[in-house]
Protein backbone atom coordinates (compact mmCIF):
# COMPACT_ATOMS: atom_id res chain seq x y z
CA UNK A 1 0.00 0.00 0.00
CA UNK A 2 2.89 2.33 -0.74
CA UNK A 3 0.66 4.15 -3.16
CA UNK A 4 -1.84 5.01 -0.43
CA UNK A 5 0.87 6.23 1.90
CA UNK A 6 1.94 8.61 -0.83
CA UNK A 7 -1.61 9.93 -1.29
CA UNK A 8 -0.83 13.46 -0.02
CA UNK A 9 2.05 13.71 -2.46
CA UNK A 10 -0.03 12.31 -5.34
CA UNK A 11 -2.89 14.63 -4.49
CA UNK A 12 -0.62 17.67 -4.51
CA UNK A 13 0.44 16.56 -7.94
CA UNK A 14 -2.91 15.82 -9.56
CA UNK A 15 -4.96 18.45 -7.78
CA UNK A 16 -2.29 21.12 -7.86
CA UNK A 17 -4.60 23.57 -9.59
CA UNK A 18 -7.49 22.95 -7.20
CA UNK A 19 -6.91 25.41 -4.38
CA UNK A 20 -9.10 27.51 -2.16
CA UNK A 21 -8.26 30.91 -3.61
CA UNK A 22 -9.14 34.50 -2.75
CA UNK A 23 -12.18 34.41 -5.04
CA UNK A 24 -13.69 31.57 -2.99
CA UNK A 25 -12.82 33.42 0.20
CA UNK A 26 -14.67 36.52 -1.04
CA UNK A 27 -17.65 34.34 -1.94
CA UNK A 28 -17.66 32.96 1.61
CA UNK A 29 -17.40 36.38 3.23
CA UNK A 30 -20.18 37.74 1.01
CA UNK A 31 -22.43 34.76 1.74
CA UNK A 32 -21.80 35.05 5.48
CA UNK A 33 -22.63 38.77 5.36
CA UNK A 34 -25.96 38.01 3.65
CA UNK A 35 -26.98 35.24 6.06
CA UNK A 36 -28.78 37.43 8.66
CA UNK A 37 -30.76 39.06 5.83
CA UNK A 38 -31.81 35.63 4.61
CA UNK A 39 -32.97 34.73 8.11
CA UNK A 40 -35.04 37.92 8.22
CA UNK A 41 -36.57 37.12 4.84
CA UNK A 42 -37.45 33.64 6.03
CA UNK A 43 -39.01 35.07 9.17
CA UNK A 44 -40.90 37.60 7.07
CA UNK A 45 -42.41 34.75 5.08
CA UNK A 46 -43.08 32.62 8.15
CA UNK A 47 -45.16 35.23 10.02
CA UNK A 48 -48.02 35.61 7.51
CA UNK A 49 -48.10 31.84 6.95
CA UNK A 50 -48.38 31.24 10.69
CA UNK A 51 -51.08 33.91 11.02
CA UNK A 52 -53.07 32.36 8.17
CA UNK A 53 -52.87 28.94 9.80
CA UNK A 54 -54.07 30.31 13.15
CA UNK A 55 -56.92 32.17 11.42
CA UNK A 56 -58.03 28.99 9.61
CA UNK A 57 -57.91 27.03 12.88
CA UNK A 58 -59.95 29.68 14.70
CA UNK A 59 -62.48 29.74 11.89
CA UNK A 60 -62.75 25.95 12.05
CA UNK A 61 -63.30 26.03 15.82
CA UNK A 62 -66.01 28.70 15.50
CA UNK A 63 -67.66 26.78 12.66
CA UNK A 64 -67.68 23.54 14.66
CA UNK A 65 -69.26 25.31 17.60
CA UNK A 66 -71.94 26.76 15.36
CA UNK A 67 -72.74 23.35 13.95
CA UNK A 68 -73.02 21.68 17.38
CA UNK A 69 -76.67 21.12 18.39
CA UNK A 70 -77.77 23.54 21.07
CA UNK A 71 -79.34 20.77 23.03
CA UNK A 72 -79.94 17.14 22.42
CA UNK A 73 -82.70 15.58 24.37
CA UNK A 74 -83.33 12.41 22.44
CA UNK A 75 -84.13 9.40 24.58
CA UNK A 76 -80.98 8.19 26.31
CA UNK A 77 -78.86 11.16 25.31
CA UNK A 78 -77.00 12.95 28.08
CA UNK A 79 -77.58 16.69 27.88
CA UNK A 80 -75.97 18.97 30.40
CA UNK A 81 -77.58 22.30 31.24
CA UNK A 82 -74.96 24.31 33.01
CA UNK A 83 -75.96 27.15 35.29
CA UNK A 84 -75.87 30.72 33.99
CA UNK A 85 -78.25 33.15 32.42
CA UNK A 86 -76.86 33.74 28.92
CA UNK A 87 -77.92 31.29 26.26
CA UNK A 88 -75.01 30.67 23.91
CA UNK A 89 -74.15 28.23 21.16
CA UNK A 90 -71.58 26.39 23.27
CA UNK A 91 -71.88 22.61 23.75
CA UNK A 92 -73.40 23.22 27.18
CA UNK A 93 -76.67 25.18 27.10
CA UNK A 94 -76.81 27.73 29.88
CA UNK A 95 -80.11 28.36 31.65
CA UNK A 96 -81.26 30.81 34.28
CA UNK A 97 -82.54 29.48 37.61
CA UNK A 98 -86.15 30.08 36.56
CA UNK A 99 -85.63 28.18 33.33
CA UNK A 100 -84.04 25.35 35.25
CA UNK A 101 -87.04 25.16 37.56
CA UNK A 102 -89.30 25.16 34.49
CA UNK A 103 -87.21 22.40 32.90
CA UNK A 104 -87.32 20.31 36.07
CA UNK A 105 -91.07 20.83 36.32
CA UNK A 106 -91.66 19.40 32.87
CA UNK A 107 -89.70 16.19 33.45
CA UNK A 108 -89.47 13.28 35.83
CA UNK A 109 -86.43 13.34 38.10
CA UNK A 110 -84.72 9.98 38.29
CA UNK A 111 -81.67 10.86 40.39
CA UNK A 112 -80.03 13.72 42.29
CA UNK A 113 -76.26 13.56 42.80
CA UNK A 114 -73.92 15.73 44.79
CA UNK A 115 -70.22 16.10 44.09
CA UNK A 116 -69.46 14.74 47.58
CA UNK A 117 -70.90 11.38 46.51
CA UNK A 118 -74.43 11.65 47.93
CA UNK A 119 -76.91 10.11 45.50
CA UNK A 120 -80.71 10.18 45.82
CA UNK A 121 -82.06 7.66 43.37
CA UNK A 122 -85.67 7.22 44.58
CA UNK A 123 -87.89 9.09 42.04
CA UNK A 124 -90.59 9.86 44.59
CA UNK A 125 -88.08 11.32 47.06
CA UNK A 126 -86.57 13.35 44.24
CA UNK A 127 -90.03 14.70 43.34
CA UNK A 128 -90.62 15.76 46.96
CA UNK A 129 -87.24 17.43 47.17
CA UNK A 130 -87.89 19.30 43.93
CA UNK A 131 -91.26 20.53 45.11
CA UNK A 132 -89.52 21.95 48.21
CA UNK A 133 -86.92 23.61 45.99
CA UNK A 134 -89.57 25.00 43.66
CA UNK A 135 -91.72 26.41 46.43
CA UNK A 136 -89.21 27.61 49.00
CA UNK A 137 -86.13 28.80 47.09
CA UNK A 138 -85.62 32.56 47.46
CA UNK A 139 -83.21 34.82 45.63
CA UNK A 140 -80.54 36.44 47.80
CA UNK A 141 -77.82 39.02 47.15
CA UNK A 142 -74.87 37.77 45.10
CA UNK A 143 -72.16 36.26 47.21
CA UNK A 144 -68.72 34.89 46.36
CA UNK A 145 -69.00 31.14 46.20
CA UNK A 146 -66.42 28.45 45.53
CA UNK A 147 -66.85 26.51 42.31
CA UNK A 148 -66.34 22.95 43.45
CA UNK A 149 -69.74 21.81 44.80
CA UNK A 150 -72.03 20.68 42.01
CA UNK A 151 -75.44 19.13 42.24
CA UNK A 152 -76.63 17.09 39.25
CA UNK A 153 -80.33 16.46 38.68
CA UNK A 154 -80.81 13.61 36.23
CA UNK A 155 -84.08 12.96 34.43
CA UNK A 156 -85.73 9.79 33.30
CA UNK A 157 -85.19 10.73 29.64
CA UNK A 158 -81.40 10.64 30.13
CA UNK A 159 -80.80 14.39 30.20
CA UNK A 160 -79.49 16.18 33.28
CA UNK A 161 -79.02 19.60 34.85
CA UNK A 162 -76.15 20.85 36.97
CA UNK A 163 -76.35 23.51 39.66
CA UNK A 164 -73.67 24.78 41.99
CA UNK A 165 -74.88 24.12 45.51
CA UNK A 166 -73.49 25.32 48.87
CA UNK A 167 -76.05 24.56 51.59
CA UNK A 168 -78.24 26.47 52.02
CA UNK A 169 -77.30 28.26 48.77
CA UNK A 170 -77.69 27.40 45.10
CA UNK A 171 -76.59 29.43 42.11
CA UNK A 172 -77.29 29.52 38.43
CA UNK A 173 -74.02 31.39 37.92
CA UNK A 174 -75.65 34.81 37.99
CA UNK A 175 -78.20 34.78 40.80
CA UNK A 176 -77.85 33.09 44.14
CA UNK A 177 -80.81 31.35 45.77
CA UNK A 178 -81.28 30.04 49.27
CA UNK A 179 -83.36 27.00 50.21
CA UNK A 180 -82.63 25.77 53.73
CA UNK A 181 -85.67 23.45 53.67
CA UNK A 182 -84.31 21.65 50.59
CA UNK A 183 -80.96 20.88 52.23
CA UNK A 184 -82.59 20.03 55.56
CA UNK A 185 -84.79 17.52 53.76
CA UNK A 186 -81.72 15.96 52.12
CA UNK A 187 -79.94 15.74 55.48
CA UNK A 188 -83.00 14.13 57.07
CA UNK A 189 -83.13 11.36 54.49
CA UNK A 190 -82.29 7.93 55.79
CA UNK A 191 -78.81 6.66 54.84
CA UNK A 192 -78.64 4.73 51.56
CA UNK A 193 -81.34 6.71 49.82
Amino acid sequence: MNKLERLPEYTDSILHGLTADQALKHRILKEAAEQPKKKNILLFHAVPILCSMIAVLLFAVVLLNELKPVSGSDQGEMTVFAAGSNQTASPETVYSFEEIIKEIDSKTISRIEFVNGTVISEPETCAVLFSILKDKALPVDNQDLPESAVMTIAFSDGSSIQLESYPPLLTDGKKVWTCQAFFDAINDLPAGN
Binding site: L7, L18, I28
Partner: protein, 174 residues
Protein backbone atom coordinates in the same frame (compact mmCIF):
# COMPACT_ATOMS: atom_id res chain seq x y z
CA UNK B 1 9.52 29.52 27.61
CA UNK B 2 8.65 26.26 29.31
CA UNK B 3 6.56 23.60 27.56
CA UNK B 4 3.71 24.04 30.06
CA UNK B 5 3.59 27.77 29.45
CA UNK B 6 3.64 27.20 25.69
CA UNK B 7 0.78 24.70 25.89
CA UNK B 8 -1.27 27.07 28.02
CA UNK B 9 -0.73 29.85 25.51
CA UNK B 10 -1.88 27.56 22.69
CA UNK B 11 -4.98 26.48 24.60
CA UNK B 12 -6.14 30.04 25.08
CA UNK B 13 -5.24 31.11 21.56
CA UNK B 14 -7.99 31.13 18.95
CA UNK B 15 -7.20 31.03 15.29
CA UNK B 16 -8.84 33.67 13.16
CA UNK B 17 -11.01 32.93 10.13
CA UNK B 18 -8.18 34.07 7.83
CA UNK B 19 -5.72 31.69 9.48
CA UNK B 20 -8.12 28.76 9.33
CA UNK B 21 -8.91 29.49 5.70
CA UNK B 22 -5.25 29.65 4.75
CA UNK B 23 -4.45 26.47 6.68
CA UNK B 24 -7.36 24.20 5.81
CA UNK B 25 -9.59 25.52 3.01
CA UNK B 26 -7.62 23.83 0.24
CA UNK B 27 -7.65 20.53 2.12
CA UNK B 28 -11.42 20.79 2.63
CA UNK B 29 -11.86 21.64 -1.04
CA UNK B 30 -9.73 18.71 -2.24
CA UNK B 31 -11.31 16.14 0.08
CA UNK B 32 -14.75 17.34 -1.03
CA UNK B 33 -13.62 17.05 -4.62
CA UNK B 34 -12.38 13.49 -4.03
CA UNK B 35 -15.74 12.72 -2.46
CA UNK B 36 -18.02 14.33 -5.04
CA UNK B 37 -15.91 14.33 -8.22
CA UNK B 38 -17.32 17.74 -9.07
CA UNK B 39 -15.40 20.98 -8.67
CA UNK B 40 -18.41 23.27 -8.34
CA UNK B 41 -20.00 21.12 -5.67
CA UNK B 42 -16.67 20.84 -3.83
CA UNK B 43 -16.40 24.65 -3.82
CA UNK B 44 -19.99 24.90 -2.58
CA UNK B 45 -19.19 22.53 0.27
CA UNK B 46 -16.08 24.52 1.19
CA UNK B 47 -18.15 27.69 1.10
CA UNK B 48 -20.85 26.17 3.33
CA UNK B 49 -18.28 24.96 5.85
CA UNK B 50 -16.53 28.29 6.21
CA UNK B 51 -19.78 30.28 6.17
CA UNK B 52 -20.96 28.11 9.03
CA UNK B 53 -17.68 28.79 10.79
CA UNK B 54 -18.29 32.54 10.45
CA UNK B 55 -21.97 32.49 11.36
CA UNK B 56 -22.06 29.91 14.16
CA UNK B 57 -18.68 30.87 15.64
CA UNK B 58 -18.17 27.44 17.26
CA UNK B 59 -15.96 27.39 20.32
CA UNK B 60 -13.11 25.37 18.82
CA UNK B 61 -10.11 24.33 20.85
CA UNK B 62 -6.71 25.10 19.39
CA UNK B 63 -5.72 22.17 17.18
CA UNK B 64 -9.29 20.79 16.93
CA UNK B 65 -10.46 23.16 14.21
CA UNK B 66 -9.43 20.89 11.36
CA UNK B 67 -11.48 17.98 12.72
CA UNK B 68 -14.53 20.25 13.04
CA UNK B 69 -14.11 21.56 9.50
CA UNK B 70 -13.87 18.05 8.07
CA UNK B 71 -16.82 16.82 10.11
CA UNK B 72 -19.02 19.57 8.68
CA UNK B 73 -17.59 19.12 5.18
CA UNK B 74 -18.16 15.37 5.08
CA UNK B 75 -21.71 15.73 6.40
CA UNK B 76 -22.42 18.20 3.61
CA UNK B 77 -20.73 15.94 1.03
CA UNK B 78 -22.86 13.01 2.19
CA UNK B 79 -26.04 15.10 1.79
CA UNK B 80 -25.04 16.15 -1.71
CA UNK B 81 -23.98 12.66 -2.63
CA UNK B 82 -27.31 11.24 -1.47
CA UNK B 83 -29.32 13.90 -3.28
CA UNK B 84 -27.40 13.25 -6.48
CA UNK B 85 -27.50 9.48 -6.17
CA UNK B 86 -30.30 8.89 -8.66
CA UNK B 87 -28.70 11.21 -11.17
CA UNK B 88 -25.39 9.40 -10.79
CA UNK B 89 -27.05 6.03 -11.13
CA UNK B 90 -28.81 7.04 -14.32
CA UNK B 91 -26.13 9.18 -15.92
CA UNK B 92 -23.05 7.46 -14.54
CA UNK B 93 -20.49 8.78 -12.06
CA UNK B 94 -18.47 11.71 -13.39
CA UNK B 95 -14.84 10.95 -14.15
CA UNK B 96 -12.13 12.28 -11.87
CA UNK B 97 -10.63 15.33 -13.54
CA UNK B 98 -7.12 16.36 -12.57
CA UNK B 99 -5.71 19.86 -12.16
CA UNK B 100 -1.94 19.24 -12.47
CA UNK B 101 0.92 21.69 -12.33
CA UNK B 102 2.13 22.38 -15.90
CA UNK B 103 5.50 20.66 -15.42
CA UNK B 104 4.01 17.47 -14.01
CA UNK B 105 1.73 16.56 -16.88
CA UNK B 106 3.87 13.67 -18.07
CA UNK B 107 4.53 11.83 -14.82
CA UNK B 108 1.17 11.53 -13.22
CA UNK B 109 -0.62 8.62 -14.87
CA UNK B 110 -0.09 6.52 -11.75
CA UNK B 111 -1.34 9.32 -9.49
CA UNK B 112 -4.52 9.70 -11.50
CA UNK B 113 -5.12 5.96 -11.40
CA UNK B 114 -4.94 6.08 -7.61
CA UNK B 115 -7.25 9.08 -7.46
CA UNK B 116 -9.73 7.36 -9.76
CA UNK B 117 -9.62 4.21 -7.63
CA UNK B 118 -10.32 6.20 -4.48
CA UNK B 119 -13.04 8.13 -6.26
CA UNK B 120 -14.76 4.86 -7.19
CA UNK B 121 -14.89 3.65 -3.56
CA UNK B 122 -18.21 3.76 -1.74
CA UNK B 123 -18.55 6.93 0.40
CA UNK B 124 -18.03 5.19 3.75
CA UNK B 125 -14.70 3.76 2.53
CA UNK B 126 -13.68 6.91 0.69
CA UNK B 127 -14.13 8.98 3.86
CA UNK B 128 -11.82 6.90 6.03
CA UNK B 129 -9.14 6.58 3.32
CA UNK B 130 -9.07 10.34 2.71
CA UNK B 131 -9.02 11.23 6.40
CA UNK B 132 -6.39 8.62 7.28
CA UNK B 133 -4.04 8.62 4.30
CA UNK B 134 -4.57 12.09 2.87
CA UNK B 135 -5.25 14.20 5.95
CA UNK B 136 -3.27 12.15 8.44
CA UNK B 137 -5.97 11.84 11.10
CA UNK B 138 -5.61 8.98 13.57
CA UNK B 139 -8.20 6.22 13.88
CA UNK B 140 -9.57 7.75 17.09
CA UNK B 141 -9.79 11.21 15.50
CA UNK B 142 -11.64 9.75 12.49
CA UNK B 143 -13.95 7.94 14.89
CA UNK B 144 -14.84 11.31 16.46
CA UNK B 145 -15.21 13.09 13.13
CA UNK B 146 -17.51 10.47 11.61
CA UNK B 147 -19.32 9.53 14.84
CA UNK B 148 -18.54 5.85 14.44
CA UNK B 149 -16.66 3.36 16.63
CA UNK B 150 -12.90 3.08 16.27
CA UNK B 151 -13.34 -0.59 15.37
CA UNK B 152 -15.61 0.44 12.50
CA UNK B 153 -12.97 2.90 11.27
CA UNK B 154 -10.30 0.18 11.32
CA UNK B 155 -12.54 -2.31 9.58
CA UNK B 156 -13.52 0.20 6.89
CA UNK B 157 -9.88 1.10 6.34
CA UNK B 158 -8.99 -2.56 5.99
CA UNK B 159 -11.83 -3.24 3.54
CA UNK B 160 -10.98 -0.09 1.57
CA UNK B 161 -7.36 -1.24 1.26
CA UNK B 162 -8.55 -4.61 -0.01
CA UNK B 163 -10.78 -2.99 -2.62
CA UNK B 164 -8.01 -0.66 -3.75
CA UNK B 165 -5.53 -3.56 -3.90
CA UNK B 166 -7.90 -5.43 -6.20
CA UNK B 167 -8.38 -2.31 -8.27
CA UNK B 168 -4.62 -1.78 -8.62
CA UNK B 169 -4.07 -5.42 -9.59
CA UNK B 170 -6.80 -5.08 -12.19
CA UNK B 171 -5.05 -2.02 -13.60
CA UNK B 172 -1.71 -3.82 -13.73
CA UNK B 173 -3.15 -6.55 -15.92
CA UNK B 174 -2.13 -6.13 -19.54
Amino acid sequence: MSQIALNHEQETEKRSFDELYELFATDVLRVSYYYLGNREQAEDVTQDVFVRLLINKPDLEYGKEKAWLFKVALNRCRDLWRSAWIKKTILGHPGFESFPAPDELNRMTEDIDLANSINRLRPEFKEVVLLFYYQGFSVSEISAILDIAEGTVSSRLSRAREKLQKDFKGDEKP
